[in-house]
């Protein structure tokens, strides 16, 4: 397996969150080069690099940047999505604690490209201690004069999972209840108080300095044709060495788990993997044996790569209780705006609870799938469709376990 460290290059360096150490290891070097390029040239480089959003959706970043107006009477904003709340996902917090200056450098490049003077970092409410590290780095950058022309403001959320959805995030940032907005009819930027706004994930922006420094081709040298570059893949669950390890797209899942994770914990057999955060569905051990870690491979299985945060489960795992655990989370975190999600998440949670308590009947399994179908594709955001896909992925692969629990 080819080792690569684009975003994680300073992770092993001691005190890399301080400006002096970061600068000694090359931080902010690209800023000199920045002003030799026009904003549109930078957007072109990002497009060429094939950089994709690393918050779960995998949408091309360059195309999103290009939606931002270069001429606008209203101010433009950049918002960094650090509301990392997807169960199984804990990569962005590595960046803001181990290399916050890489993020700030990425923010400065992004702001220059989309002509924004102010960036907000929206941080998950529970990340208070990590926010302190990032705030320290921001303060240092202000003192050094790196920030000032461009402002960076950190904003802590109040702990709602849905605020990771970009339009709910912006509602929350505007001081309102975090409800996803109705989607626009044509491609357009996001809007923060009616101003054109770019919302990108932490890791996406942290990947930008490398592309600026080495060029689009250097980034494309990693990964696959359609999923270029790297991702801070992560593992949790029944592996020997859970953690965050950067790898290029397209590596084999089992190679990754064995190489970085040190294989299964206590020599147990693998049973199932949730590939990229709770909402990406579940796959069997046999499927995991043959899958590459890139967006297209996962999609072709009816799953998704998400954030690349794998949850690895061994042979002793009860899949009914895993699904119950996930559905409890969705039941708690549905924002409650759309009827199918608000009422559906509660219903499926209670149905699986019933099966887990051995009070279920085979009708309950059919009902579960029926409710999942109703929840799919009928809501404002993708929360309910994701829950629906999770249920379908569990029942299509592990139905016998659910039936055995009746």
């Amino acid at each position: 397996m080819r080792e690569v460290a684009i975003v994680s290059r300073k992770f092993a360096v001691e005190n890399s969150h301080t400006l002096s150490v970061a600068q000694a290891h090359g931080a902010y070097k690209t800023l000199e080069k920045l002003h030799t390029l026009a904003p549109l040239e930078i957007i072109e480089i990002i497009k060429e690099s094939g950089l994709r959003g690393k918050g779960g959706g995998g949408a091309p970043a360059g195309a999103k940047w290009a939606l931002m107006p270069q001429e606008s009477e209203r101010p433009s904003f950049v918002v960094i999505n650090c509301d990392e709340s997807e169960p199984g996902t804990f990569k962005d917090r590595q960046i803001i604690t181990k290399d916050p200056h890489l993020l700030i450098e990425g923010i400065l490049i992004t702001c220059y490209a989309v002509k924004a003077k102010h960036a907000y970092v929206y941080i998950r409410g529970e990340y208070a201690q990590y926010q302190d590290v990032l705030q320290g780095a921001v303060d240092e950058a202000y003192v050094a004069g790196i920030l000032g022309e461009v402002d960076v403001t950190l904003h802590r959320g109040a702990g709602a999972y849905i605020c990771g959805e970009k339009s709910a995030l912006l509602e929350s940032l505007e001081g309102k209840r975090g409800h996803p907005r109705l989607k626009p009819k044509q491609p357009e930027p996001e809007w923060y108080f009616g101003n054109p706004t770019l919302v990108n994930n932490v890791e996406t922006i942290a990947s930008v300095p490398f592309i600026m420094e080495h060029g689009a081709a250097a980034y494309r040298a990693y990964g696959t044709e359609k999923s270029p570059g790297t991702l801070l893949f992560a593992m949790s669950g029944h592996v020997e060495k859970p953690g965050v390890y950067e790898a290029e797209f397209g590596v084999s899942m089992m190679d990754y788990i064995n190489h970085y994770g040190g294989g299964m914990k206590n020599g147990k057999k693998l049973k199932a993997v949730i590939p990229g955060g709770a909402s990406t569905g579940v796959m069997t051990a046999a499927e995991a044996d043959n899958v590459q870690l890139d967006y297209e491979s996962l999609r072709s299985m009816g799953l998704s790569l998400g954030t690349g945060g794998m949850i690895v489960m061994d042979e002793d795992t009860c899949m009914v209780s895993v699904l119950k655990n996930l559905l409890e989370f969705y039941h708690e975190e549905s924002c409650g705006q759309c009827t199918p999600c608000r009422e559906g998440t509660g219903w499926v949670d209670k149905l699986v609870g019933k099966i887990l308590d051995k009070r279920g009947s085979s009708e309950d399994i059919d009902k579960l799938l029926e409710v999942a179908e109703t929840m799919n594709g009928k809501t404002i955001c993708v929360f309910a469709p994701a829950v629906s896909a999770v249920i379908v992925s569990f029942l299509s692969r592990f139905r016998d376990e659910f039936e055995a629990a009746l």
């Binding site: 975190e333 759309c338 009827t339 199918p340 608000r342 009422e343 109703t374 009928k378």
Partner: protein
């Protein structure tokens, strides 16, 4: 204005403005579409997900309230697939609903009930016994009671306080199926239009403290009328009922949509002004504080008229119907009396706002102005014949046609209130509107016109 284009709904062609909302067309053309959250004055919020339709070329069903009409669009609102979507979402809406219709005041005018009759009518698949519990009796203020369990979270009420009154008292708190409507901490629902949220609420979550438990809505009859609270001319329904062995009674006023005047709303003061029609009414003829019969009253009337011949002034209330005012003016001419319609007393700037409330608190203000009647106070009055004007006038003698009881030694003659008679009104901007007769009392007081016939007969 955008271009008019053609679209097809259920194989029929309709014309609509390009870029307008599909749901507006469906509502206008009376094509059945279920919805809770959409409201023409509040716009689309897209949260109830009920108004789904199929659109040719779109993989998934779309909500009509967030679909803009495009030329050549083909919409299917009735396919088996889309009916199933409606049924399924409605079922979800019902899983935590208490289904306490027998004790719910909204029963009979509830969207949830209506839609269940259209799309439900199935045995519940839900076997959950532990429905989510919330407060069932929250006094929000301003006569509005909240039952959080019945709420479908359509957010019409919160959007009303955000977008219409801009008072922001209401919000939704909590997530998922724990979400509920609430007032902001330390606040009450408190604005002059607050009770409109009761009409906006599609279900029994918000009910009127003033109306609830007094009458089942299916017993009520509605008459189209105009509020008499001020000169704005807000269109209302008078909801009334005559129960067996009892009198015909008004239970409530409700706003009646008129985009040229009041839109969808009325103010709370106007809404509650029905009470005045039911309290302190003058029921008998009185002279010098003593009850007299009609024969004696008319004899006294004629005697006073003869006694003060040449020194008679007629005073007209600016709330009477135009037809009544015209008849009084003609009558005054016949008996050689001067006519006054003093307007000063109706002027109340403290009542006015920039929404619906006018400083001129007389329903037929426009007619008095249009007819060019004398609006000063009567002077040199021997006898004043007062047709329900609220001012007390100094005169040697007074005949007072009145809807309500008065402290007076005058000849007091009871007359019908506007709800007991029909007629037209002209509002402050000159718009003429018609009021239906609503109430038929067991012993009705004579109208102005029948009084004039009696005293001239």
């Amino acid at each position: 204005m955008s271009e008019m284009i053609e679209i097809i709904v259920d194989d029929k062609t309709y014309r609509a403005e390009e870029g307008s909302l599909l749901i507006d067309l469906l509502i206008r053309e009376e094509i059945k579409v279920p919805y809770f959250c959409y409201h023409e004055s509040l716009g689309a919020d897209g949260n109830c997900r009920m108004c789904m339709v199929e659109i040719a070329g779109q993989k998934r069903p779309q909500i009509a309230c967030d679909t803009l009409v495009k030329s050549g669009m083909e919409v299917n609102s009735k396919s088996t697939k889309i009916e199933k979507v409606h049924t399924d979402i409605l079922e979800l809406e019902l899983i935590n609903h208490p289904v306490d219709c027998p004790t719910c005041d909204q029963a009979g005018e509830c969207s949830l009930q209506d839609l269940y009759m259209d799309y439900g009518l199935h045995d519940a698949k839900v076997t959950i016994v532990d429905k989510v519990k919330h407060d069932k009796k929250v006094d929000l203020g301003s006569n509005v009671m909240l039952d959080q369990e019945r709420c479908v979270l359509c957010a019409r009420c919160t959007r009303f306080t955000d977008k219409i009154t801009h008072t922001h008292e209401l919000g939704i708190i909590g997530r998922g199926d724990e979400a509920k409507v609430s007032t902001m901490p330390g606040r009450k629902l408190d604005n002059p239009y607050a009770m409109n949220v009761v009409d906006l609420c599609p279900v029994g979550a918000l009910t009127s403290k003033d109306f609830r438990f007094h009458q089942r809505v299916w017993f009520l009859q509605s008459a189209e009328s105009i509020c008499h609270g001020c000169a704005k001319g807000c269109n209302i329904y008078i909801d009334h009922n005559k129960m067996k062995y009892q009198d015909d009674v008004i239970y409530r006023f409700r706003p009646r949509r008129n985009d040229a005047v009041n839109g969808f709303y009325i103010c709370d003061e106007g809404r509650l002004s029905y009470k005045e029609l039911e309290t302190n009414r003058l029921e008998s003829m009185l002279y010098d504080g003593v009850v007299v019969d009609e024969h004696e009253a008319i004899a006294q009337y004629k005697s006073l008229l003869t006694q003060y011949q040449g020194r008679v002034s007629v005073v007209i209330d600016a709330n009477l119907y135009s037809e009544e005012i015209e008849a009084i003016v003609a009558y005054a001419e016949r008996i050689g009396a001067k006519v006054f319609a003093p307007l000063e007393c109706y002027n109340d700037p403290s009542f006015a706002d920039d929404m619906l409330k006018s400083a001129q608190r007389a329903a037929n203000y426009g007619a008095i102005v249009k007819m060019g009647l004398e609006t000063n106070m009567p002077s040199d009055a021997g006898l004043i014949i007062n047709f329900n004007h609220p001012t007390h006038f100094n005169a040697e003698a007074e005949i007072h046609f009145s809807t309500h009881k008065q402290e007076s030694n005058a000849l007091l003659l009871p007359m019908a209130a506007f709800s007991e008679n029909s007629g037209s009104l002209i509002n402050e901007v000159g718009l003429e509107q018609w009021c239906e007769k609503a109430v038929e009392k067991n012993s009705p007081a004579p109208t102005v016109l029948s009084w004039l016939e009696k005293v001239e007969g």
